[in-house]
Assembly symmetry: C2
Homo-oligomer: 262 residues x 2
């Protein structure tokens, strides 16, 4: 049983939670709680599971149920687990998980792909929620710039509610260049912005589609918006200056869903 | 200048941030940052503004611009301000603000009111975002059960982005009873739930409308759902179990907006 936070494995977990760079180096990240750990196991991404002393009984009961007997499992004392946990009342289980990876070319070759393209989305809750909604709306993939908050940040991971193991994604250096590439492949790119000329409900979103959503404070960069095929907006009543980025993305993705399932 | 966190006013601010009960007793709450304080001033709700020593110059410049010269203003030392602030890099201005209040009967007498009715929504970010989106979608009011997170919680206040000074709301003891009251006034109430029989895009949402959204983990209570006129659902692809509550509310409110503006 691991009984000290200075244990090498515990140190690694803490570093993986804090540092996006270390996560990239190690090609893994941390998920916490029964639900997320079980999702990681289901998608064969978990490398090691850490179980708190006081959660071992429940864990073993669930493991047998799931038929997940072969995974490496380390017991951690209750007090150490509490210290490495993100939550105030930890469920007592976390896992070191392999990063999922997707091939951009294969994703773009899907039949009529629909992409949600995020430029510099900064809030972890927004990114996680967008990933969750993207799966619900049946999008093909989430495209993120390097300026977005790291997808493997613990807060993002939590708010995806498991969608991060199922929703394909890829990361690009520059959204401007990515749009040019997509257009070369026959995509129509819609930029959602406050001054967009068309109401988002007017477009048909047929064929290969990319939907652009920008940074919470600054929206889409002018040079990125300039590359888009269509500028769209979500109508707003009252004196609201803008909608939350995850809300805007949800309205747009579900509009694509609606028009394409008709 | 206030130079100690044990100053009676500083203690009051900290208590107002922490305790929903104290906020109700005092009938006031705290907003932070230039934008929120200026909104509070605009709606004549600010009682006292506290300005950090190092933000005084900017505050005075902005005050003259806005013509807001009469409000009581207290200077606070930079270090004390940092301690009472919620944010890591405080803007240096916060205000003690009067709670807005609305008359339920007057709201329900509006022409074709559309209400978003929240039962036990617990996440502060979700409640704030729903309030912001409700204004954007042109809803008449937000109805909340007492089991919802307190609207005047600092995290909720922040995520409303000012909509809390503009969006009418009222709080009810029980959503079941409120639905019966609304139905007595001619409202049609739509309950959004995973097993709702109609796709949310199929309904017309004409006349007096109430849209029910439930708790993040448990959804709408069965007894509340049983009172509703229509059970609706948002279609979901993939293996997503549910959507985020603020996302669901946004999709529903914008559907009401779309059907009623036609």
């Amino acid at each position: 049983m691991i009984e000290s936070t200075s244990n090498a494995q515990m140190k690694k977990i803490q570093k993986l939670k804090k540092s996006a760079k270390f996560r990239r180096q190690e090609h893994c990240f941390i998920v916490e709680g029964f639900k997320m750990v079980e999702e990681a196991l289901r998608y064969k991404k978990a490398r090691i599971v850490y179980v708190s002393e006081d959660a071992m009984e429940e864990w073993q009961a669930r493991r047998i149920e799931d038929g997940m007997k072969s995974i490496r499992c380390e017991e951690v004392s209750t007090s150490v687990f509490r210290q490495i946990s993100d939550t105030e009342t930890p469920q007592g289980v976390l896992a070191l998980v392999e990063m999922p990876e997707y091939d951009r070319d294969a994703l773009l070759e899907a039949e009529h792909p629909a992409l949600i393209c995020l430029e510099d989305v900064q809030d972890p809750g927004n990114l996680g929620t967008i990933m969750r909604t993207a799966e619900g709306a049946g999008m093909t993939a989430v495209v993120m710039t390097k300026g977005c908050v790291d997808l493997f940040n613990p807060k993002v991971v939590r708010s995806t509610m498991g969608a991060m193991f199922r929703m394909p994604f890829y990361i690009v250096e520059s959204m401007t260049e990515e749009i040019r590439h997509l257009q070369g492949q026959g995509f129509t790119v819609y930029s959602s912005q406050l001054d967009g000329s068309r109401n988002f409900t007017e477009c048909q979103y047929q064929g290969k589609v990319g939907i652009l959503v920008g940074n919470e404070a600054n929206g889409i960069r002018p040079e990125t918006s300039a590359c888009a095929n269509e500028k769209i907006h979500i109508p707003m009543e009252g004196e609201v200056e803008s909608l939350n980025a995850a809300v805007s993305a949800a309205l747009l993705m579900y509009e694509v869903h609606r028009k394409r399932r008709k």
